[in-house]
């Protein structure tokens, strides 16, 4: 190689290096939370020890302790392999508790699959295989109901431990407090507050991508739903200017802070008041629907098809208020 050639080659190399550096110096792209295996599942860190798994049915809350993992809801059974892979990308520690916020299949479908990936340390009799599956007792009642084929579930999905009070708590490197709102989405709801992480897992009491799912067949009522939303707001503290602070993982949809829960509570209250006014005036369900009491919110929360439509929401509110009205008339007699 001649000297001229060597210099020429060096110039080429420097030029290529400069070219490469010019492109490398572009600011680094922010890393978005990605599913661990390229599936439709998304894993988001909320804050503290709490993460959210979306895309496996209902949202799954994952709390990572030093020695154990706690889950709130388990999504659909068929999504369990991907859900478990995502959980394992966060921690290899055993799943010790699975908490069900309701008896719904999209919240409990993965109970068996995910609970089997853990074990429960009782402190008394040592370990038992499988995580403790915890719920309010009405969830167990619904899932074991042999007379009700719609709500009965396979025994392997049933909760193993229940509470029948308004509050229950456990500890996994932070206090985890369960509260039972009465007759909201159903009659067996739990909200789960991770106190140090400052995150609440609300189940289907709060679903910002749709109208409140009031399951009247399972004991849900509009007034109980609004009470539950107000209780959520009581627990939440914004960081500043109504942003950040306490976050809520909803049953379905995006993570929200207090401002979004407030708007949702306002919407539920305003629509309840409108329909209640019409019920008091003796209007039929068809007349109520014809008055379009949800028109101003349909573009945000409404749907004409799918699991929970605007019509179903109006039906549920109307029936719930009519039943309440009939009950209060009976009392007056």
């Amino acid at each position: 190689m001649t000297g001229t050639t060597a210099i020429f080659d060096r110039i080429v190399l420097i030029a290529l290096a400069l070219l490469s550096a010019a492109f490398d110096s572009a600011p680094a792209r922010a890393q978005q939370d990605q599913p661990p295996d390229g599936s439709s599942i998304q894993l988001l860190h909320i804050q503290g020890r709490v993460h959210m798994l979306a895309g496996a049915g209902a949202n799954i809350t994952v709390q990572i302790g030093d020695n154990a993992v706690v889950l709130v809801d388990t999504g659909l059974a068929r999504m369990s392999p991907q859900a478990l892979a995502a959980i394992r990308s966060l921690s290899q520690k055993p799943i010790e508790f699975v908490i069900n916020t309701s008896a719904d299949a999209d919240h409990t479908g993965g109970n068996h699959n995910l609970a089997q990936a853990g074990h429960f340390i009782s402190g008394m009799g040592g370990e038992r295989p499988g995580a403790s599956v915890v719920s309010q007792i009405a969830v167990l009642d619904r899932m074991t109901a042999s007379s009700d084929k719609d709500t009965a579930a396979s025994p392997e999905l049933w909760p193993t431990d229940t509470y029948d009070t308004d509050r229950w708590a456990l500890f996994n490197d932070e206090a985890i407090v369960l509260e039972h709102p009465h007759a909201a989405h159903t009659d067996g709801d739990s909200i789960v507050f991770f106190r140090r992480s400052d995150v609440i897992s609300a189940g289907d009491i709060f679903t910002p991508d749709r109208y409140p799912m009031i399951d009247t067949a399972k004991g849900g009522t509009i007034n109980g739903e609004i009470d539950a939303l107000n209780r959520l707001l009581d627990l939440m503290v914004p960081r500043a200017d109504e942003e950040g602070g306490t976050y809520v993982i909803p049953g379905h949809g995006r993570v929200c802070d207090r401002a979004a829960v407030t708007n949702y509570r306002d919407m539920a209250t305003i629509i309840r008041d409108r329909i209640e006014d019409l019920v008091k005036k003796g209007k039929s369900l068809d007349q109520v629907k014809a008055s379009k009491p949800t028109l101003d919110y349909d573009g945000i929360y409404g749907a004409n098809s799918g699991l929970w439509t605007t019509d179903m929401f109006i039906d549920a509110v109307y029936r719930s208020l009519s039943a309440a009205s009939a009950k209060s008339s009976e009392k007056e007699r």
Partner: protein, 295 residues
């Protein structure tokens, strides 16, 4: 071999020159500074209840606004709502813009933007970062990315919390997107904003604001801590039931504007509407105030 290397060298220099040229064009306007606002007819601080004129609103948001009451701002949960990204420039007050620079190259990684009145500091990313997850929390200012188009900075914002088109109950949904153009002419800055809201607007809402450079202007941060100011329970949600808001009658009566025109809609934005306006029935006069005609 020499020919290949020479070709490679030529291509490298050409691409390198293009890269630097693009970067130079991209950085030619410095937006940094503190600005004061040139008042315009639109940056009203207290819009009238029932004034929906000149906005391409639909029936859904009309019902929303008809149900609204200013008592909303007394709700503990709403006391500290700041102005969202699309509304903050509407309010009168100062503006501060400053860049965030790469410490090694001094390339602008982001522009920060803060409006005095009820606004919060906003970041406009210039590094082509991807959109946040659809499951991530929305914010008042949303997620903004910027691109230079000649000497105009085009800013696209998504992921905003629900806000308002006008502070009289006309809501802007959390499904809206915002496109802005920041245009600096010497000491003047024009911000053109285009809001597209599939929930509440039938056409894009285009607005402009003008600002002038005001060196030395100091902004105070907006810090608000909610506290109970009215004797109401936290569950209180003030609103009017449909057909019961008598305040809606005041705006047309007090200004002599036909009721239909006050309801807004896309056609009220265009000059041709003046002809239609002349054919509409006049509103009823405002009720006489008790004792108003007495000496």
């Amino acid at each position: 071999m020499r020919a290949i290397l020479r070709a490679l060298l030529f291509v490298s220099f050409a691409v390198l020159a293009l890269a630097f040229a693009t970067q130079t064009v991209g950085a030619q306007v410095d937006l940094s500074g503190t600005y004061s606002q040139t008042p315009s007819q639109d940056n009203t601080t207290d819009p009238f209840i029932g004034d929906y004129t000149g906005l391409p609103v639909n029936d859904a948001v009309r019902l929303r606004a008809d149900s609204w009451t200013a008592a909303k701002w007394d709700q503990e949960q709403h006391e500290c709502d700041p102005h969202p990204a699309d509304y903050a420039p509407r309010a009168p007050g100062g503006l501060r813009i400053w860049p965030e620079l790469d410490p090694l190259t001094y390339a602008v990684l982001a522009w920060h933007f803060e409006v005095f009145t009820n606004g919060t500091a906003r970041t406009i990313y210039m590094d082509d970062r991807p959109q946040p997850s659809a499951y991530s929390a929305q914010t008042w200012n949303g997620f903004s990315t910027g691109k230079w188009e000649g000497d105009k900075l085009k800013v696209t914002t998504t992921n905003m919390k629900e806000g308002w088109l006008r502070r009289n109950g006309l809501a802007r949904s959390n499904k809206a997107t915002l496109t802005e153009y920041f245009i600096r002419h010497g000491d003047f800055l024009t911000i053109v904003s285009i809001v597209k809201d599939p929930v509440y607007l039938t056409e894009p809402l285009v607005r402009t604001e003008r600002w002038f450079l005001n060196p030395g202007y100091t902004l105070a941060p907006f810090i608000c801590t909610p506290r109970d100011v009215v004797d109401k329970p936290p569950s209180w949600v003030p609103h009017h039931l449909p057909g019961t808001n008598d305040f809606l009658k005041e705006f047309p009566s007090n200004f002599g504007i036909p009721v239909e025109a006050t309801r807004g809609g896309a056609e009220t934005m265009y000059p041709e509407y003046i002809q239609k306006l002349a054919t509409l029935p006049a509103p009823p006069p405002p009720p006489a105030k008790s004792g108003a005609n007495k000496p």
